[in-house]
């Protein structure tokens, strides 16, 4: 039906009184209700399966989830994540500024590093480091093609954990470098110009002016990377390091309860990721200072506010209700058909 045919066939409605006085009929959304019902059924089915399917063996899960071996393993996983993310992002930041530097040599070295370490699958690289002593029996300090002043047995210098941290760090640094560089180039050029015009020393320009603003772009991706790294530590189980996934495997290899122990590992990964996500939220908020005119409330502040609103509403409930202005008999704005 077109507007013109409406105008032609329907007599003009009597001019409505003030539209503000009319009753508002909310739009109906039947499709939304159908979708909501379908999803509710699916979720209920899933929950029912999780609770009642005996294969999950929730009892075994309960026995192991807080056992010493598993808690120890979680600690190893956390350490690997912490070392690799801190060292990885430090090295990554250096690489990022090398790529942004004016020296073609530094640019090329950084570019090549990123190219190489992004090309090698992490697991391949980790096995390389694990076999470092086969590659270089001794490591030393000296002049290339010249004398060596100091050297050490490579196995005694880096243990298995050391090899894992190095592997994870080098891998992480390549990605971190690109994330940091992306953040730095996203900062408006006028900022550096203003800092230069004010005579602010070069390092201070980067630390005080550029990086804090770059953090806004860096943090969401960096959060992704660190969470990815947390789960990526499970790859070092190939090196027989007692982190979470390795210990879960050891235990189910012994007692055959594969599913509940995978659940144990899953639960811990979910918990750790959740903690990291919360940390990320607050760190992002801190670096968003000055970005919004009115910063949004945190979920906690919002919860407190709605609690207060509920209380206030409850307090009002007992008071007599003031009737709304009497509505005119429904008087449609448009002509009815």
């Amino acid at each position: 039906m077109t507007l013109t045919s409406d105008a032609a066939t329907v007599p003009a409605a009597p001019p409505a009184a003030d539209p503000a006085a009319l009753q508002v009929v909310p739009a109906r959304h039947p499709a939304r209700w159908v979708a909501a019902a379908a999803v509710t059924v699916l979720v209920a089915q899933f929950a029912h399966g999780l609770a009642t399917n005996p294969v999950w063996e929730w009892g075994v899960f309960g026995d192991y989830v807080l056992s010493d071996t598993i808690v120890q393993a979680v600690w190893v996983t956390l350490q690997l994540t912490a070392y690799a993310s801190v060292l990885g992002f430090l090295l990554g930041t250096v690489l990022a500024f090398m790529r942004l530097s004016r020296s073609p040599l530094l640019q090329t070295v950084a570019w090549t590093y990123i190219w190489v370490f992004r090309s090698i699958p992490m697991i391949v690289q980790l096995v390389f480091w694990f076999n470092l002593s086969a590659l270089y029996e001794r490591l030393g300090l000296g002049i290339p093609f010249g004398p060596v002043f100091w050297s050490v047995d490579s196995d005694s210098l880096i243990g298995t954990i050391g090899a894992a941290v190095i592997g994870l760090t080098l891998h992480q640094a390549a990605y971190a470098a690109e994330i940091v560089r992306g953040g730095v180039v996203s900062v408006d050029g006028g900022q550096l110009e203003a800092a230069a015009a004010l005579g602010i020393p070069r390092l201070r320009q980067i630390r005080r002016i550029v990086l804090p603003q770059a953090m806004r772009a860096i943090l969401p991706t960096a959060g992704n990377e660190i969470i990815g790294l947390l789960k990526g530590t499970s790859v070092v189980s190939v090196m027989a390091i007692g982190e979470l996934f390795y210990q879960a495997q050891v235990i189910y290899g012994r007692n055959g309860r594969v599913i509940p122990l995978l659940l144990v590992a899953t639960a811990w990964y979910v918990v750790l990721t959740s903690v990291l996500s919360v940390v990320q939220y607050y760190v992002e908020r801190r670096f968003a200072r000055g970005a919004d005119r009115t910063p949004p409330l945190t979920p906690l502040q919002r919860a407190r506010r709605s609690l207060r609103a509920l209380r206030a509403a409850a307090a009002r409930r007992d008071r007599p209700v003031v009737p709304l202005k009497t509505l005119h008999p429904a008087e449609p704005l448009e002509g009815t058909r």
């Binding site: 408006d188 006028g190 900022q191 110009e193 203003a194 800092a195 230069a196 015009a197 004010l198 005579g199 602010i200 020393p201 070069r202 201070r204 005080r208 002016i209 804090p212 603003q213 670096f287 200072r289 000055g290 970005a291 919004d292 005119r293």
Partner: protein, 254 residues
């Protein structure tokens, strides 16, 4: 002349094949206000940026209070200064940008304190006192704790002026300070600049505000095609221009 504060001699600047400045000579005396007018693309902003070495000159030289900008003369040669020395020179040359370039993640007070503390090694407390005094002077004493994005454009530009003043520069350069502002906010920024002119600060202002030039300038410089076409007191240049190009420009903007 001993009281020449800014001395620009034979300055050329090209970006690749594009010659933006083609031999500019300009002398600004201490305590005077010089307004540079000219059509867009005439090189006036580039000239301003060469004065604090944000752009390196291709030929010619610039000195401020007798000191070469970006170079040191010794043994019959000009030695390019290191970045550190250039940064130090810039603390004596205040620069106000068209789009303010305040640091959005720092409060207004932190914006003003940053350079004096990090570049001039002033004690923070002293720098904060100076900053509050300057904010009061530009009429924004109550905004010290605000972030730049919480301010209007005019207020931001006034903060930017205070930030430049915090280093107590010998010269203040303004690069179209009101061009990014809504018309009703132009006045408040021009008032601050007028106020500074009254205190004997040496200033070079690139602008399109002819009325401001007439009222405040000691010297009006008209640039076109990368050279100074004519200069003189506002009455001479604005009301009785000698050059056809100046006349044509004024006819368009007045």
């Amino acid at each position: 002349m001993s009281d020449v504060m800014v001395d620009v001699r034979g300055v050329h600047k090209s970006f690749g094949p594009l010659d933006v400045l083609r031999g500019v000579d300009l002398q600004v005396r201490a305590g005077q206000v010089t307004v540079i007018l000219g059509p867009s693309g005439s090189g006036k902003s580039t000239l301003l940026r060469t004065i604090n070495h944000l752009e390196k000159v291709s030929r010619g030289w610039i000195s401020i209070d007798g000191e070469l900008v970006g170079y040191r003369r010794s043994g019959g040669k000009l030695h390019e200064l290191k970045e550190k020395e250039i940064l130090k020179q810039r603390t004596r040359i205040g620069f106000v940008f068209q789009d303010f370039n305040l640091f959005p993640h720092l409060t207004v007070l932190e914006n003003l304190v940053e350079a004096p503390v990090s570049a001039l090694r002033r004690p923070r407390k002293e720098a904060e006192e100076t900053a509050r005094r300057l904010l009061d002077r530009v009429g924004l004493a109550d905004k010290a704790g605000a972030y730049p994005r919480q301010l209007s454009g005019g207020q931001q530009q006034r903060v930017a002026i205070a930030r430049a003043l915090a280093l107590e520069p010998k010269v203040l350069l303004f690069d179209e300070p009101t061009s990014a502002l809504d018309p009703e906010l132009v006045g408040e920024v021009l008032d601050v600049i007028k106020d500074l002119a009254g205190t004997g600060t040496t200033m070079i202002v690139v602008t399109h505000e002819i009325g401001f030039a007439r009222e405040v300038a000691d010297t009006v410089v008209f640039m076109d095609g990368g050279v100074v076409v004519e200069q003189g007191p506002p009455a001479a240049v604005l009301d009785a221009p000698r050059h056809e190009r100046t006349r044509a420009f004024l006819a368009k903007v007045l």
